[in-house]
Amino acid sequence: MSMTATLTNIYAPYLMTVDEIIDEAPGIRTLKLAFQDEAVRKDFAFRAGQFGLYSVFGAGECVFCIASGATRKGYLECSFQKVGRVTNALRDVEVGDTVGFRGPYGNHFPLDEKIKGHNVVFIGMGIGLAPVRSVIWTCLDERKQYKDVTIIYGARSADLMVYKRELAEWAKTPGIKFVKTVDPGGNPPGWDGEVGFVPTIVERAAPSPEDAYAILCGPPIGIKFTLPVLLKLGFPPERIYTTLENRMKCGIGKCGRCNVGGKYVCKEGPVFTAAEMKELPAEY
C-alpha cells in the first residue's frame, strides 16, 4: 500500500488568533479563537462533543473540548483551567496573539442521528459544563427541532460557575427548564439558585425520562454519583451520554495513552453512552 503520495503532516496545527478572552471564574478562562487561514475559516466544521489540541509554541499542546456551538461558523471557543505548563502558557496569551489548534477529533453527541425530536436534559458540573455548553448552543440554535429542554448546572460555589452570562440568559429563555445549584456552603448571600450537590438536585428536579436523552459531563466523581440517579429516574443507559477525559498527546489514535480498556478515548470517544461506560473497566 503505497502511502507516500498522500503524506501530509497530520500533527501540523491551524494557526488561530485570539479574538476574545473571557474570565469565567478564578483559574478558568475561555478563549475565542478565529482561524487565520481564510480557506479554513470558511469550511471548518465540527460536531458538538468533538475536541481539539490547543497549543502554545514552546509550551506544548493540551486537549480540551470545543466549547462553542457546532452551528457557529468561522471561530471556536475553548475553556480551560490553569493546571499545568500549557494551560499556564495559554493563560498568558493576550487578544491578537497566535495559538495553534488541531482538530476536530473524536466522535460527537448524536444530535442529528438520535436526539433531535426528543426531550433533552443537559447536566453540567463545574468546568464540565464546557462540552455540554457546545451541545446546548447547537441545540438552542435549532430550538424547534427539540422538544423539552432542561439544563441543570452545579458548581462548588457561585463564583466558580462558568459562562455566567449564558446561565442568566438560559434562565430567562422560555421553554428551557433551568436549574442551577452550588455545593452546600457555596451559596453567597441572596443566592437565587438551589443549594446541594448535583446528584441530589437532579433527583429533586426529577426530569422525566419519557422520550428524553440526558447529556451529563463533569469530573469522574460527579459522573459516578449522578449516573445512578438518572438510572433510578428511569433513563435507560443507552440514552444517557457523557464524555471521558484522559491524558492525550496526539489526539488521533497513535500515541497509545488515552485508552480505557480497549477503547481509545480520542478515536472511539470522548462521547460514550452510560451503557458503553458499563462495559469499560474502571480505568478512567
Binding site: 502511502m3 497530520i10 501540523a12 509554541f57 495553534g100 496526539c250 497513535k254 478515536k267
Partner: protein, 339 residues
C-alpha cells in the same frame, strides 16, 4: 529454480547498496553489544553465525526515538510561524540480516501508524525500507516466536528471506515487489540453481497456545495475578524501547525565545506520567495496572482493533528487563489458567 546468494556476495550487496546511496542497516558490534547500525562499510556487517538477536530491533530506523515534527520560530511581533520537515526525500534504506521476528514487526506497526490518520513520519521511512531477513538457524534462550504466531523462518514483513544452507550460502526467497526489484537491480550477486539446497532452520516448540491468552484477558482485568506478577516491575522503559512493536510516543516542545521544535519522543506505558492528568488524577496509579496495560494492549486491544497481536515473540523484553520479568512465563501462566 531457486535463488542463492553467497555470504561474500551478501557483503558485496551491502557495499553496492551503500554506493548506490542506500542507508544500509545491519547487525554490527557496539563495544560488547550487537546492535542495528547504519553501517558505513560492509566490513561492519556481522555474519549470521555471530548473533542471534541484536540488543534492540531496527524500529529506530522507521520510528526514531526523537524526531522533530515541526519547527517553529517567532517572527515579527512575536507571531509564531512553523514549517514541517520534509516528508519526501528520505534516502532508500535496506535492513540486511535482521531476523524474521523483527521483520514481522513492520506489518504490525503499519496498522497503528496507518489507522485512519496516516503518520507521515513513519511511512516516509517505511516506504523506502527494504528488509532482507535471515532465518534463524538456532533459537535463542528467550525466543518464543512460535508461541506468538511466527516462526524462525516466517516471511511476514520481509522483502527477501535468506535461509542458511551448506557452504556459507543462503537460499534467497523473494517475497515482495520491493524484494524483486532489489533482486533484479543487484541481480549479478544472486545465482540461479536447479533445486533449493537443504536449509538449516531452527526448531522451536511453542511455549504456550497464544489463542488461549485473549479469552482469559477478556475476563480478568481485576485479577490478583497482575499484582503478583508486576509488583516487582521497576517501571522503566527498557522493555518498550527494545521491543520491535512498541510504538507509543510523547510530544513535547523544545526551544527558546527564538524558536524551537515540536518533538515526537519514544514513551512507555510503564511510566506513571504516561496517563497522569494535569489535575494529578492518574487512571493507572500503580505499577501492576501499568504492566497489565502492556499485556492487554499487545494481546487483546491490538488484536481486537487490527487483527494482529503487537508481539513477535522475540523475548527481548525479558532479556533486557532489570528484574528479568518474564513475559513468556506470564503468558504461559495465563494460558495455563484457562477460565
Amino acid at each position: 529454480m531457486a535463488t542463492i546468494i553467497t555470504a561474500e556476495n551478501l557483503k558485496q550487496l551491502a557495499r553496492e547498496m551503500l554506493k548506490a546511496g542506500y542507508r544500509v542497516i545491519a547487525p554490527a558490534k557496539q563495544a560488547d553489544l550487537v546492535v542495528f547500525k547504519a553501517i558505513k562499510d560492509a566490513q561492519e556487517m556481522l555474519p549470521e553465525s555471530e548473533y542471534i538477536l541484536p540488543q534492540a530491533s531496527f524500529k529506530e530506523f522507521v520510528f526514531p526515538r526523537c524526531e522533530c515534527i515541526l519547527r517553529y520560530r517567532f517572527g515579527e511581533g512575536g507571531k509564531p510561524v512553523f514549517e514541517s520537515p520534509n516528508l519526501d526525500g528520505e534516502p532508500p534504506q535496506a535492513v540486511i540480516g535482521c531476523r524474521p521476528c523483527d521483520a514481522a514487526s513492520l506489518p504490525i506497526l503499519d496498522k497503528i501508524f496507518g489507522w485512519d490518520y496516516v503518520d507521515p513520519f513513519y511511512f516516509k521511512r517505511r516506504e523506502k525500507t527494504a528488509v532482507i531477513s535471515v532465518a534463524c538457524s538456532r533459537a535463542g534462550e528467550g525466543c518464543f516466536c512460535t508461541s506468538a504466531g511466527y516462526a524462525p523462518d516466517s516471511t511476514a514483513g520481509s522483502d527477501i528471506l535468506l535461509k542458511k544452507c551448506a557452504g556459507g550460502k543462503y537460499a534467497a526467497e523473494v517475497l515482495s515487489d520491493k524484494g524483486r526489484q532489489l533482486a533484479e537491480k543487484f541481480g549479478s550477486l544472486f545465482e540461479k540453481v536447479e533445486a533449493t539446497p537443504p536449509v538449516e532452520v531452527a526448531g522451536l516448540n511453542p511455549a504456550f497456545d497464544v489463542e488461549k491468552i485473549k479469552p482469559w484477558l477478556d475476563k480478568h482485568f481485576d485479577d490478583p495475578l497482575w499484582l503478583e506478577i508486576a509488583a516487582r516491575c521497576m517501571g522503566c522503559g527498557t522493555c518498550a524501547y527494545g521491543c520491535p512493536t512498541c510504538h507509543c510516543f510523547d510530544m513535547v516542545d523544545e526551544g527558546d525565545l527564538a524558536g524551537g521544535c515540536r518533538l515526537k519522543n519514544w514513551d512507555t506505558c510503564s511510566s506513571a506520567l504516561f496517563t497522569k492528568h494535569g489535575s494529578g488524577h492518574n487512571p493507572r496509579s500503580s505499577q501492576e495496572q501499568r504492566y497489565r496495560q502492556r499485556v492487554l494492549h499487545k494481546f487483546k486491544y491490538y488484536l481486537e482493533k487490527f487483527g494482529l497481536r503487537a508481539c513477535v515473540g522475540c523475548g527481548r523484553c525479558t532479556a533486557r528487563c532489570p528484574v528479568n520479568l518474564d513475559l513468556r512465563g506470564v503468558l504461559q501462566t495465563i494460558a495455563g489458567k484457562q477460565a
